[in-house]
Amino acid sequence: MLDILEALDSRIRIEKSLSSWEEAIKISGLLLKEDNIITQQYIEKMINVAKQLGPYVVIAPGIAIPHARPEDGAKKFGLSLLVIKDGVSFNSHNDPVFLVLSFATPDSQSHLKFLQQLATILQNSTELVEKIRNASSTDDIINYLKNLLSAEEEASA
């Protein structure tokens, strides 16, 4: 089962500011689509889910995890990370959102390890958001996540 770093591969993008949460989902969705993980339809579904069900995908201060159903066009499991330095509003109590971690899974199992790791690293979500938001490059972000995840693994071993 893939962990966060493997699932993320190199799909990280940093933006200064964006006009709307819809644009944020579109950009992070395109990163997945370019790598043939999802279809165009999946991006539209992610936006529809947030419109219909509200901003519940903003799971912690500054962090959103948009997704749709496997049958909405998820070809395989994968993640993308969009960093919005100035933040964008999702109309959530956890606004502004700085990290948009979109994911797709073709079944109900492939993303379990990702969710487990997410549950671990979110326990210090304030620092996570600040470090990633202030990173100067995508390599910095990957290195930060690498260190964070290996430290967590040692702690739980």
Binding site: G54, P55, Y56, V57, I59, H93, H111, L115, A119, Q123
Partner: protein, 101 residues
Amino acid sequence: MEKNRPLRVVTACGLGTGTALYLKMVVEDILKKAGIYADVITADSSIAPTLETDIIVTALDLAEDFKGRAKAKEIVAVENYGNRKEISEKLLEAARRIREE
């Protein structure tokens, strides 16, 4: 509540596949550490309010929508999924009320 039956918990999100699964893992961990025997399942937001269960654990935005129509005895509304203390306090408080019935 009658003794020796597991506490029934439903973790819910919009689709039942992402944050509900996330919450299921966190909730199971919290209940296990508290020594509470429980049966935890996931559901999407169309099914969750119709389930006759003890507790629904879900996001604040969805909890507002469930209120008044959910068949569950308790609804735990989570604001920050990273805040284990928040989830734990709200969940164990709801579990205590169920036990005292």
